[in-house]
C-alpha cells in the first residue's frame, strides 16, 4: 500500500477515524479509500459528521483515533497549513474570504502564498505578472467583473466561486468542497457546479464534495458516501445510495422513491 509509484495507491485514505465532542459522536470508524481523480459526494443531515470529516482530513480537527493517509503518507497530525502544503485543499460552507480586501487582492493573496517560497517582504504583491495570473483565474470562474469589490458587496454565488478559486490556486491534488452551492439561488447552482467541476477536472483533482441537493449529487459525483450519526451508512454509486431505504429514512428524509427522481 505504501508504494506510491503504483496507480493503486489511493489519493486519500482514512482508517477507523473516531471523533467525539463530549457525548456527541461526530465520527465513528470512518474508513474510506478515494482513488485518484475520483469525484465523490458526501451526503447526510446537519450534524451527521460530514463537515467533521472534512475538518479532520484538512487538519482543522484531529481524530481521537484512526489514521489519514494522503498518497500513502500519514497526515493525521498535521495542521491546516501543512495539509494544504501537502496538496489537500478545501472550500468552506461559509466562504472564508478576507473581508477587508478586494476580490483581486484576495486572489493575489492566495497566489502569493501558493508560491513555494514564503511571501517576500521585497516583492510587490501587485506586480503585473501576478495581477495577470490573478485576472486569468478570475476570468476562468467568470467573476472578473467583481475584481475591485469588497466582500460585503458580493452576491453569494460569487463568494462561493472566489472561495473555491482561492483554494485552487495552490494546485491541490485533492479538493474537499464543503457545500459548494449552499446559500446560492437555485438557478445559479448548476452553472457554478459546471464551472468548478470543469476547473477541477482540467487539473485532474480528486474531489469530494458535501452536498444537500440530490440533483447535484447524482449529476456530478460518481460515488456517494451517506453519513448518519457519525457513521457511513451507505457507500455506492449515486443511484444505489439514493434508493437505499436507510438513506431514504435518515438522509433524504423520505421513503418515497419519487422524491429523488
Amino acid at each position: 500500500m505504501s508504494d506510491s509509484s503504483t496507480g493503486a495507491t489511493p489519493a486519500l485514505e482514512t482508517r477507523g477515524l473516531m471523533k467525539s465532542f463530549g457525548a456527541v459522536t461526530a465520527a465513528h470508524d470512518i474508513t474510506v479509500s478515494v482513488p485518484e481523480k475520483a469525484v465523490w459526494s458526501l451526503i447526510g443531515t446537519n450534524g451527521a459528521g460530514k463537515t467533521t470529516f472534512v475538518n479532520m482530513v484538512t487538519g482543522y480537527l484531529h481524530p481521537d483515533e484512526g489514521t489519514i493517509l494522503f498518497q500513502g503518507r500519514d497526515i493525521t497530525r498535521l495542521g491546516p497549513r501543512e495539509v494544504t502544503r501537502a496538496g489537500i485543499c478545501r472550500s468552506f460552507q461559509i466562504p472564508q474570504l478576507c473581508s477587508e480586501l478586494t476580490v483581486l487582492e484576495n486572489m493575489l493573496v492566495s497566489l502569493a502564498i501558493a508560491d513555494p517560497k514564503p511571501p517576500s517582504f521585497f516583492r510587490k504583491a501587485r506586480e503585473s505578472a501576478a495581477e495577470d495570473r490573478a485576472m486569468q483565474i478570475l476570468k476562468r470562474f467568470r467573476i472578473e467583473e467583481y475584481r475591485g469589490r469588497l466582500m460585503s458587496e458580493l452576491p453569494a454565488g460569487v463568494r462561493k466561486l472566489l472561495d473555491i478559486a482561492m483554494s485552487m490556486s495552490g494546485h491541490p491534488k485533492v479538493m474537499l468542497l464543503d457545500e459548494p452551492t449552499s446559500g446560492v439561488a437555485a438557478e445559479e447552482k448548476f452553472p457554478i457546479m459546471d464551472l468548478v467541476m470543469e476547473a477541477l477536472a482540467a487539473e485532474n483533482v480528486t474531489t469530494l464534495f458535501v452536498e444537500h441537493d440530490m440533483e447535484i449529487v447524482t449529476r456530478y459525483s460518481d460515488r456517494v458516501l451517506a453519513f448518519y450519526d457519525g457513521r457511513i451508512i451507505a457507500d455506492d454509486a449515486p443511484g444505489d445510495v439514493l434508493n437505499d431505504p436507510q438513506v431514504q429514512r435518515y438522509v433524504t428524509g423520505t421513503l418515497a422513491p419519487e422524491a429523488t427522481s
Binding site: 463537515t51 475538518n55 482543522y60 480537527l61 468552506f92 460552507q93 461559509i94 472564508q96
Partner: protein, 300 residues
C-alpha cells in the same frame, strides 16, 4: 506554621480586595467586550463619594448609629453607578461595540484621563478621610498577629459579592440572559434578547462593583488623587490570569495573586514589585487565554 498561616491570612485579605476591584471589570468585558481602563477611576469616584457621604453621615449625628455608615457606603456606590453608568454606556461606549477590542481600551483610556481631572475639579486635591468604619469592629487575633476586624469584613463582603454575582448569573432569569450574551452575543441577539438592556445592566453592575470596591477601600486609605491608577493595572492582571470574562477566574486569579504577593513580602521582599506580572506571564504561557477560558474552536 505561623508563617504559613500569616501568609494565608494576608493573601486572603489582599485577594478578597483584589476580587472586589476586578470582578466588575471581568463582567463588563464578558458582556460588552470592552476592557474598561476607566475602571480605576470609577473605583476612585466610589471612594470619593463614600468619603463624602460617610463624612456627612457622621457630621449629622451618625455617631448614634455608627454601623449605619456601612449602609451609607453601599448606597454611595449605588448612586455612583446609577449616575455614571447610563452616561458612559449610552453616551459613549455603545458606539464601539462593533469595533476592535483595542479601540475599546483606547476609548476608556480617554475616559480615564477625563475622569482623573474631573475628580480633581470636583473634590480638589486635599485628601478625604473616613476611618470611622475601619475602626468600628475592633481588632481580631489571628495566629501570632492582630488584624483589624474590618479586613475580615472585606473577605466576607468579597465572598458574598462573588456569590451574589454567581447567583444572579446562574439562578435568575436576567442573569441567565446575560450569561447567554457572554457566551454568544450574536446568537442571543437572533434569539430576541434585548441586548441594549443587557449591556446597560451589565455595565451598571460593573460600575457599581468598581465603586463598591472604592467604597470598601475608602476607610483604610487616604482618598486622594491618583488612587485609581494603581488599581487598574492590578485588576487587569487578575482577570487576565483568571480568563477574561470569567467570574470564577477573577476569584481564582485574585487569590493566586494575593497569596503570591503575601508569600513574596514575607519570604522574598525584593520580588514584590513584579510578582504580579510574573504570575501573569507564567499563567499565560501555559494557558494562553487565562485559566478559566477554554479556547473555543471556531465553527467553519
Amino acid at each position: 506554621m505561623d508563617l504559613l498561616l500569616v501568609i494565608l491570612v494576608d493573601g486572603l485579605i489582599y485577594g478578597a480586595w483584589l476580587f472586589i476591584i476586578s470582578v466588575g471589570l471581568t463582567l463588563v468585558f464578558g458582556v460588552l467586550g470592552i476592557l474598561n481602563l476607566a475602571h480605576g477611576s470609577l473605583y476612585a469616584i466610589g471612594a470619593y463619594a463614600t468619603a463624602t457621604a460617610v463624612g456627612i453621615y457622621f457630621a449629622y449625628g451618625g455617631d448614634a448609629f455608627p454601623l449605619g455608615s456601612y449602609i451609607v457606603m453601599a448606597f454611595s456606590a449605588l448612586l455612583v453607578a446609577v449616575v455614571i453608568a447610563p452616561i458612559l454606556e449610552r453616551g459613549l461606549l455603545r458606539h464601539f461595540y462593533h469595533r476592535d477590542e483595542v479601540i475599546g481600551v483606547l476609548v476608556t483610556y480617554g475616559v480615564f484621563l477625563i475622569l482623573e481631572d474631573a475628580i480633581k475639579l470636583i473634590w480638589g486635591v486635599d485628601p478625604l478621610f473616613v476611618y470611622e468604619p475601619y475602626d468600628l469592629l475592633g481588632m481580631v487575633e489571628a495566629g501570632p498577629l492582630f488584624y483589624v476586624a474590618y479586613d475580615f469584613l472585606v473577605i466576607a463582603v468579597s465572598a458574598v459579592t462573588g456569590f451574589a454575582v454567581w447567583y444572579f448569573l446562574n439562578r435568575t432569569r436576567r442573569g441567565k440572559v446575560m450569561l447567554a450574551v457572554i457566551h454568544d452575543r450574536e446568537m442571543s441577539q437572533t434569539m430576541g434578547v434585548n441586548v441594549d438592556k443587557v449591556f446597560l445592566l451589565a455595565f451598571g453592575t460593573g460600575v457599581f462593583l468598581a465603586a463598591f470596591g472604592g467604597a470598601l477601600t475608602a476607610p483604610m486609605i487616604s482618598v486622594s488623587p491618583g488612587i485609581g491608577v494603581n488599581v487598574i493595572i492590578v485588576a487587569f492582571a487578575v482577570i487576565i490570569i483568571g480568563g477574561l470574562g470569567s467570574i470564577e477566574g477573577a476569584a481564582l486569579g485574585a487569590v493566586m495573586v494575593g497569596i503570591s504577593r503575601a508569600a513574596s513580602v514575607h519570604l522574598m521582599p525584593e520580588l514584590e514589585l513584579f510578582i504580579i506580572y510574573f504570575v501573569m506571564a507564567v499563567v499565560l504561557f501555559f494557558r494562553p487565554e487565562g485559566i478559566f477560558v477554554r479556547t473555543q474552536t471556531r465553527k467553519i
